[in-house]
């Protein structure tokens, strides 16, 4: 196979073709699917998963995983309410503090993983329970409501006709793509995932890279938490339950190898859009919720299998 053909058959290309096919198919099923209002609205709904998925791509490229993101989101939501309502801090300060706390949550993940050599799966499985427990313990199940009107701009408002959180997501997509694709930090991320020992001997700061990535993962989960609170206008300790599965599905669907060393932001974005389009489009064409989950599972398997077949040929 020629080099051009090989690069054409990359996972992202296959995924993009699949996405176009799916979008076309869904558009024929419901005339309300391909409308600006619906597409922007779907963008609003996928922003939280999207934000977390961007950094999760980095995490998985290093060969790690972060299962605690949903719990961090819930903890941030609760802390936002506690800082603002119970401690009486101004809301902007409470927002910043809550996100900082989420970053510390991520940093703790990173420390456990790098300093104590605990496998990321185990470390974040433990903090998944720990952070959710903290959220429930701190909130004592009281939800905080009655946020001022301006706060809802973040989750329910729009800027220039586009939902506010889509701008944030868009900006972070560009930043993440540049950092992963064009910087030394991005190269260090790939090197860490592809061959950690090799990377260490090449003088790459593997631990520092991981620490930064897990902290960033906490930070975006915190940011997503604040947006989530603004979107639904209340805090609950069970917010974000199961978020990690949606996020990991989007990233893996986007072609990031769960063994590390391989993956792109473009792929993650495509995976994210494909998943949201399926959820929305199938619902609009009358498929019930349980059926939708089945289809998403099938598409995930299909995309991975197809990509594996082509890449084996391509590499060989």
């Amino acid at each position: 196979m020629t080099a051009t053909l090989r690069s054409l058959l990359r996972h992202e290309t296959i995924l993009a073709i699949l996405l176009v096919l799916v979008l076309a198919a869904l558009a024929t099923q419901s005339d309300r699917f391909f409308t600006t209002a619906n597409l922007l609205n779907q963008g609003r709904l996928m922003a939280e998963v999207g934000l977390v998925a961007l950094v999760m791509t980095f995490v998985i490229v290093t060969g790690g995983i972060d299962l605690s993101v949903g719990s961090i989101l819930g903890l941030t939501a609760i802390l936002l309410g506690v800082f603002w309502h119970n401690l009486g801090l101004p809301l902007p300060v409470a927002m910043v503090l809550a996100i900082v706390a989420a970053g510390i949550g991520g940093l703790i993940n990173g420390l456990i993983i790098t300093r104590f050599k605990v496998p990321p799966l185990i470390a974040t499985l433990a903090t998944l329970a720990l952070y959710r427990g903290l959220a429930e313990g701190i909130s004592q199940a009281r939800s905080v409501r009655g946020y001022p009107e301006w706060f809802f701009v973040l989750g329910q408002g729009e800027v220039l006709g586009v939902p506010t959180q889509l701008w944030i997501l868009g900006a972070l997509v560009v930043i993440a793509a540049v950092v992963l694709g064009l910087t030394t930090f991005g190269r260090a991320t790939y090197a860490t995932g592809a061959n950690e020992t090799g990377a260490r001997f090449s003088g790459i700061g593997v631990d520092r890279t991981k620490l930064l990535i897990y902290t960033a993962s906490g930070l975006v989960a915190g940011l997503a938490g604040v947006i989530f609170v603004s979107r639904v206008s209340t805090t609950r300790s069970d917010m974000g339950t199961g978020l990690e599965l949606d996020v990991i599905t989007a990233v893996v669907l986007g072609g990031t190898s769960i063994f590390g060393g391989r993956g792109t932001i473009i792929g993650t974005v495509l995976g994210l859009i494909l998943m949201q389009a399926l959820k929305n489009g199938l619902a609009l064409s009358g498929v019930k919720g349980d059926g939708t989950i089945v289809v998403i599972g099938l598409v995930l398997i299909l995309a991975i299998v197809a990509s594996n077949l082509f890449s084996r040929e391509g590499d060989g």
Partner: protein, 368 residues
């Protein structure tokens, strides 16, 4: 530097959590309570102006066929299967309503919002809902009203201005009285009890618990409240939580209240497996089918509920009456098919009736 940050974080979280833990917490909400009289005198309904929402530019739907979607808290459990059956029954009887039930497989507010959002886009005429969270669901329901869709809640309310009407299965103080009276009758006036609920913020459960607290303080002042535990309407978790309660409190524990249709049978199963039948009473809200084995073995004596099939039936009848313009703000009652006239209470709620206690004598007459 790193160590200092971590220490700061730990200190911060400990400080916050201990401040929040200082107040004892029973799982109720902070709203005012209105306990009924101990001897069974019915409470009097206070007239309140209509406080529901109004759809924007709703088309004239009088007598026309309409498409309705029902989004319960979750699908696939006995309780919402029963409400769904009631909705289907009413749709069949009315003949001009196409109704379907769809929703998340877990009681998750985020997913429920997405479902409703998608159905608004797909262009339905009416939405029935049972809210996972009264505040969080409000923005999407307001969006439905703004799109001219008729919105009626049942089982679990939202903020009043986010929907038109809410079909109330039983007044909270009525349920609270039935539960506490049954428990007092079974375990005595000075016994200790605990509660297994769904989550502390689920609107119905929090309201019932607050009313139970008020009614118990007023009419059974010597009963002792041990603790309230969360079990998410999850079968396994409810069983584990009930088992933990039994082990933790030992002989002190005389009664368990199950606040959901999942927690009650799971608590009864936990009591059975612990060999404590007759020593620990389970009183709770549940569907009769799930409770039959325990009631027949005399392990559970009273199960309190309304009829969820009637609840679903009434919800769709109310929605149809609203879409037809027969039920307007300010009305005092509404015709609901075979259920007859239902009373309007609290401004924009419709009361289904008094709660019902299933016992060994009558439970076999019900199948849902």
């Amino acid at each position: 530097m790193l160590k200092r940050t971590v220490a700061l974080a730990l200190g911060l979280s400990l400080g916050v959590s201990s401040a929040a833990l200082a107040a004892t917490w029973t799982g109720g909400d902070d709203l005012p309570t209105n306990p009924l009289a101990c001897n069974g005198t019915p409470g009097k309904a206070e007239a309140k102006p209509y406080d529901g929402g109004v759809p924007t530019n709703a088309p004239d739907r009088k007598g026309k066929p309409i498409k309705v979607v029902d989004v319960p808290k979750l699908i696939g459990i006995g309780y919402f299967n029963a409400t769904s059956k009631g909705i289907a029954d009413a749709a069949k009887e009315l003949g001009n309503v196409e109704a379907k039930t769809d929703g998340p497989t877990q009681a998750n507010i985020d997913q429920q919002i997405s479902f409703i959002d998608n159905y608004i886009t797909s262009g339905v005429d009416g939405i029935l809902f049972a809210a996972n969270d009264p505040v969080a669901i409000a923005p999407v329901l307001k969006k439905a009203l703004a799109a001219g869709i008729n919105v009626v809640g049942y089982d679990a309310n939202s903020q009043p201005d986010a929907r038109q009407w809410f079909v109330n299965q039983a007044e909270f103080n009525g349920i609270a009285k039935a539960l506490v009276d049954n428990m007092a009758k079974e375990v005595g006036e000075d016994a200790s009890f605990a509660i297994v609920t769904s989550t502390f913020t689920t609107p119905n459960q929090a309201r019932w618990i607050s009313e139970m607290e008020a009614y118990q303080a007023k009419c059974h002042p010597n009963m002792k409240w041990l603790e309230t535990v969360e079990a998410q309407e999850d079968n396994v978790l409810s069983f584990n939580q009930a088992t933990t309660l039994i082990n933790k409190h030992g002989d002190d524990l005389k009664g368990i209240f199950g606040m959901t249709s999942v927690a009650t049978p799971a608590s009864a199963e936990a009591v059975t497996q612990a060999g404590k039948c007759g020593k620990i009473s389970v009183v709770g809200l549940a569907t009769p089918n799930a409770m039959k084995p325990y009631v027949e073995k005399d392990c559970v004596k009273s199960v309190v509920l309304w009829n969820p099939v009637d609840l679903g039936y009434a919800a769709l009848q109310v929605l149809r009456a609203t879409a037809d313009g027969d039920l307007k703000p300010g009305a005092t009652s509404v015709k609901a098919g075979k259920l007859g006239d239902l009373q309007v209470i609290n401004g924009s709620e419709i009361l289904l009736g008094a709660p019902f206690t299933f016992t060994k004598d009558n439970i076999k007459d019900f199948d849902f």
